[in-house]
């Protein structure tokens, strides 16, 4: 625990220095968007134990909404992001309300089916550009102040948003609501027997997760200037599950690390090995589930706490 503030400070320092270090800012923005997406997903899976197989629906739908409002209606980026986030929240409310009626695998299947429905809408609707998606979305100027066409400015906006989302998720988990959510995660029947209407808490967690996933999607639309069907399709839902599990569900930094690994692999390894990258990521996933089920950060935390426990008596 004492190492935590130090590690966080180092991570923030590194993130602030990225443009000076000569790292490609668009790559870092992509990484941060997916890290945000994974953190949002982790709120649901890690702290609410709800396994959604359809989170790309919120990510992609918000991206489409933001992209469409900017390119077809000339909205500024700020309001377009807010509208995209609102769309994701609303979609989360509808899908969540249907999905939380069931548990476990049935919950997962309902989210999967409804996300496929959203994918189909995005494929067929007139405003999404069908197979081509939305292209050439201008970044514009954020709230008449920040010119986002500069990659460096855009990068700091994404970084600031990410830090805010990360802090918000920590707060949610450590809030009165978070206490109830964790209790429901730990023992659902017992929470009911203490008088809690558990579905209301699960729905709120679902909507919060969908909203933040939407924020990540909206930002990504502006970062790249395009939205495609890839943002809303099943494989993206799979990616976010992988990122979260790989890094460590129920840990705060795990999803960030997981997103970092997966995005880096996808980006740089695909130049080297081409299509094999999917197989490599698949193998990583299998190894993760078989060998270190808590994920990287989960296993490290466990090791650290064991080490501390064995050291304590030695110190006397």
């Amino acid at each position: 625990m004492r190492a935590q503030p130090v590690l966080y400070s180092l991570a923030v320092l590194f993130a602030l220095a990225v443009p000076l270090l000569g790292i490609y800012p668009v790559f870092m923005m992509q990484l941060l968007c997916f890290a945000m997406f994974a953190c949002a997903y982790n709120l649901l899976l890690g702290f609410g134990r709800m396994l959604s197989f359809g989170h790309a629906a919120f990510f992609g739908f918000a991206a489409y909404a933001t992209g469409w409002l900017v390119s077809a209606h000339g909205w500024g980026p700020g309001f377009a992001i807010l509208a995209g986030v609102a769309a994701a929240a609303l979609l989360g409310l509808v899908i969540g309300a249907l999905a939380i009626r069931r548990q476990g695998i049935y919950f997962a299947m309902i989210t999967l089916a409804l996300a496929q429905l959203v994918y189909f809408v995005c494929l067929e609707a007139p405003f999404t550009g069908g197979e081509n998606g939305l292209q050439g979305i201008p970044r514009g100027t954020l709230f008449w102040l920040l010119p986002l066409h500069s990659d460096v400015v855009m990068y700091y906006v994404v970084l600031a948003t990410f830090v805010a989302v990360f802090a918000l998720i920590r707060r949610v988990v450590h809030s009165p609501f978070g206490q109830v959510l964790k209790a429901i995660r730990d023992n659902e029947p017992r929470a009911i027997s203490l008088g809690y209407e558990i579905n209301r808490y699960k729905l709120l967690a679902f909507v919060l997760s969908a909203t933040l996933a939407g924020l990540a999607g909206s930002l990504k639309a502006l970062v790249f200037g395009f939205v495609t069907l890839a943002d809303v399709q099943q494989s993206t839902s799979g990616d976010v599950v992988l990122m979260t599990l790989l890094g460590g569900t129920g840990t705060f930094f795990g999803p960030v690390l997981g997103a970092g690994i997966v995005v880096t692999l996808q980006q740089y390894l695909s130049d080297v090995v081409g299509g094999w990258v999917t197989a490599i990521i698949g193998a990583t996933f299998v190894a993760c589930v078989l060998a270190f089920r808590r994920g990287i950060v989960g296993e490290l935390t466990l090791l650290a706490s064991r080490a501390r426990r064995t050291l304590r008596p030695a110190r006397g």
């Binding site: 964790k182 730990d186 209301r200």
Partner: protein, 264 residues
């Protein structure tokens, strides 16, 4: 709903009338009539598969009955929701330990206190806003001898301590009627004695209905005993009455000779 004569009077807190539960043809609980007197410790015993846990699930609304009626403090709760009856003071425990494993002992108890505290949906507030409940939570932990374990994560507590924590959490609800499903199951002698004493103590101001296999515990603290077999009540009364009942002896020993043993 016309209140039943029994439950209208002050002496009966819960009543089951003709309660039946069928699972696709199999009758788990068959036409059970049961009255629990206010202030009593009422034990429900019976061989494995007698339908005790199903009956518990029916009373606490975790299962819907096929037929029959449940009256709680004179009101019909046959169609109420489980969280709703819990809020009205009918609180149950579970056969397997019912703690929240990844919360500390203090947080476990506080979850029960938190429900009546405003703002269980406040996701933007700090956890420190719950600190006002900590004193009451510590009191309850002291009551079950867990004061020193307040900061320990529940999963790391020994089994007997977990059951004690469960009772503290249930007490935090200030229940009128506690339903305990095998509270001493799987415990060593020392823990059994501690939990038995706890139940006795908790029952001073409330009613307890418990499923229990340990006859030693039942004989010591139960005021009334009801024996279930194959979903039906075969005997009811004090320990002495029930222990001499030939039907009960047959159910337990397979033959109507000898007496129900006090130990286990």
């Amino acid at each position: 709903m016309v209140a039943a004569p029994c439950c209208a009077a002050d002496d009966c807190i819960i009543e089951a009338r003709g309660l039946t539960k069928e699972f696709s043809g199999f009758v788990a609980v068959c036409n059970v009539d049961l009255r629990v007197r206010r202030g009593h410790i009422h034990a429900l015993i019976g061989p494995n598969g007698a339908g005790k846990t199903t009956f518990f699930n029916l009373l606490t609304k975790f299962l819907a009955p096929t037929r029959g009626q449940i009256l709680y403090r004179g009101e019909d709760i046959t169609h109420a929701k489980p969280a709703e009856v819990a809020r009205r003071g009918l609180v149950r425990s579970f056969q397997l330990s019912a703690v929240f494993p990844h919360l500390t002992a203090l947080e476990n108890v506080r979850i029960a206190l938190q429900r009546t505290h405003p703002g269980t949906f406040h996701f933007w507030k700090r956890e420190a806003t719950l600190a006002v409940l900590n004193d009451r939570a510590r009191e309850l932990l002291e009551l079950v001898d867990l004061g020193a374990f307040a900061a320990v994560v529940a999963v790391e507590l020994p089994y007997g301590r977990k059951r004690a924590l469960e009772i503290a959490t249930t007490l935090a609800m200030d229940p009128q009627l506690m339903l305990l499903d095998e509270p001493t199951q799987g415990m060593g002698h020392e823990d059994v004695d501690r939990v038995t004493a706890l139940i006795k103590q908790a029952a001073a101001q409330r009613t307890v209905l418990m499923v229990e296999h340990n006859m030693h515990v039942v004989s010591r603290i139960a005021d009334t005993i009801t024996v279930l077999q194959r979903g039906q009540i075969i005997a009811s009364g004090s320990y002495a009455e029930v222990a001499r009942n030939p039907l009960v002896m047959e159910a337990y020993m397979g033959a109507p000779d000898g007496e129900l043993r006090g130990g286990h």
